[in-house]
């Protein structure tokens, strides 16, 4: 789960990471109220999960209430690279002496955590990494040992942070690491991490990706699941706990396992169709999950056919079949369905489905056959 900046800052604050005082606003009037509370000057910041907010005009400095009102009116509703701004974060403007960069994430190759710090923050850090890799100090951290104070010091010294920033930066890095580990984040990133003229170090931005697998031990994460996404199909899928990514095609895809779902999209594409979505019903998929999946696909008006591709391992064939039967009872499925079912208890599953077979519900033995049929049913010309 990716957090919005304001949520990231709230999360940072729980781990003692210094952030600017601020508040959330959904209307221009609320923005003024928040600005009055935190004190002028303030920064009005669009809350969207996409880079380049500043260049798009989504971050503005305001000296007084009139300016806050004007900026808030301009920014709310703004489309920033496909993301509509629905919420603002109003925070007290900081005086900035220097801008740095800091992050922790998993280095999958090394199978260790990786801390990165740079004295060249506040800019496109990927560009810095490409042009001048040495400008980014890196330190692998063994998860069984954790980040030590000397590790933090090594990072800030290697990155060449200004001497007056170093103690504060080490302290912040230790808290950031604790937010990363104890907070079960896949990523914590601060860009910029600033040094104020008074010598204080604090986080001026917050990018936090939480590990959804850890949500069972973080009931407090519920409050982060507030804002709706931009794709109503994805919002519905998320509510139903499905792994769904909306695409633009006409063949709805349901498969069990991320690999098979991806492969199903690839095969539909290869035979001349376009997948409408990626939908992984997962290893433990049962009747309820299948019914939910069909309901989500059914809300997609572009879908002309549905390709259900299930290979049974943990998901047993009869569970899949029962799910389809139940789903068909629950919702009026608009598009014809092509199913390819194999693996554990596939025979029992196919037996259950036999009663449903018609020209709008067909079974095919192989992935390629099923993909071609689905593309044809969607009005395409399969290759």
């Amino acid at each position: 789960m990716d957090l919005f900046e304001y949520q990231g800052k709230q999360y940072f604050a729980r781990f003692g990471i210094p952030v600017s005082p601020g508040g959330v606003a959904d209307t221009p009037e609320e923005a003024v109220a928040r600005a009055d509370e935190v004190g002028y000057p303030v920064v009005v910041k669009a809350q969207v999960q996409v880079g380049g907010r500043g260049k798009a005009g989504g971050i503005k400095l305001a000296a007084d209430a009139a300016e806050v009102l004007a900026h808030a009116r301009a920014i709310l509703g703004m489309d920033i690279r496909g993301h509509i701004v629905r919420r603002l974060w109003i925070e007290h403007a900081s005086e900035i002496a220097r801008e740095y960069y800091a992050s922790f994430t998993l280095d999958r190759s090394a199978k260790l955590h990786l801390g990165m710090v740079s004295a060249r923050g506040g800019v496109d850090i990927e560009q810095v990494a490409a042009e001048d890799p040495d400008a980014i100090a890196r330190l692998h951290v063994d998860p069984t040992e954790g980040l030590t104070k000397s590790g933090g010091r090594q990072l800030v010294e290697q990155a060449g942070l200004d001497p007056e920033a170093r103690d504060g930066a080490v302290d912040l890095l230790l808290k950031l690491y604790s937010c990363y580990v104890d907070g079960d984040a896949d990523l914590v990133e601060v860009n910029p991490l600033i040094l104020t003229p008074e010598g204080r170090v604090h986080a001026l931005d917050a990018k936090v990706t939480l590990d959804d697998s850890a949500s069972f031990r973080h009931p407090e994460w519920d409050e982060f699941r507030t804002l709706e996404g931009d794709d109503p199909r994805e919002t519905l899928a998320k509510q139903k706990g499905l792994q769904y990514v909306g695409l633009d095609g006409e063949v709805g895809i349901i498969a069990n396992g991320a690999g098979l779902a991806m492969s199903t999209c690839d095969v539909v594409n290869q035979v001349g169709g376009q997948p409408a979505n990626f939908l992984d019903i997962g290893g433990g998929a049962n009747a309820e999950v299948m019914a939910n999946a069909l309901e989500v696909i059914n809300t997609d008006e572009k879908v002309r056919s549905i390709f259900i591709n299930v290979f049974g391992g943990i998901t047993r064939g009869e569970e899949v079949a029962n799910g389809i039967v139940q789903a068909l009872q629950r919702v009026d499925i608009g598009a014809p369905i092509v199913i390819r079912l194999d693996g554990t208890n596939a025979e029992q599953g196919r037996e259950i489905l036999k009663g449903l077979e018609s020209e709008r519900f067909v079974s095919r033995p192989t992935m390629l056959d099923a993909a071609r049929t689905a593309v044809a049913l969607a009005g395409g010309a399969p290759r």
Binding site: S103, D186, L187, G259
Partner: protein, 295 residues
Amino acid sequence: MSIFVDETTKVVIQGLSPTSQGFFHGMRNRAYGTKVVAGTNPKRGGTEIEGVPVFATVKEAVEATGANAAFNSVPPPFAADAVIEAAEAGVPFIVCITEGIPAHDEARAYNRLKRDFSASRLLGPNCPGIISPGRCNIGITAGEIAKPGGPVGIVSRSGTLTYQALYELKQKGIGVTTCVGIGGDPVPGTSFIDCLAEFQADPETKAVIMIGEIGGSAEEEAAAYIAEHVDKPVVAYVAGVTAPPGKRMGHAGAIVSGSKGTAKAKMEALAAAGATVAVNPTEAGELMAGMVASL
């Protein structure tokens, strides 16, 4: 021969109860012919389930039965600790199929094994397990979709695509020495490279199918390994060519992986390393059939 497991492998099922996933799949594995010698459950020590003696701990199970492999499908909050318990009991091969273990738990468990229990190999988590057709099946693979014998070895990051590969080969009359599902989680205990090294050393395995996915750089690393160390033919398939670039926040991940991670980059790296790259799972089977015919 097979890799990691064979007909002598003795399995202890962690978290055995009449309703657990371990029970459902463990009984299927036993019916397939796998030697399931014990189960563990702290609340059921001293009992028996379907003829399988249950012990309170893995240590007791190993002492009593000589189990040398563990099948771990316990729920995510407890799975990483269960891996460590099996390693502490001296189990050399631990298969963890559990999906949804927090990444930090995985990273800790992996590094703990590496540091303190280097004699134990973890397969998974979030994987379908391992099957050496006709000899041993630990995990969730439906045994009937695999043809015993050889000459092909399979290693895959994706569960259902693993079954797909087994199935494609069986339909073409081609046997498999061992099929290893390494799982799609960020910190897999066993890597492509670990399996490629074993297949290269296994005289019965003459060719390898490798199935990858977008994300991470495991396929690129495997490609580099293939170029240097594998002279057996490799057919590779990577899922996710049409996957849209995922919503990505922050830049740390991109700095770590650079341009790696896309299906295209992975396929190019594998092709450059001498692997034959298929565009879909069916073609992977067909290409392998051609290779097997010319062996």
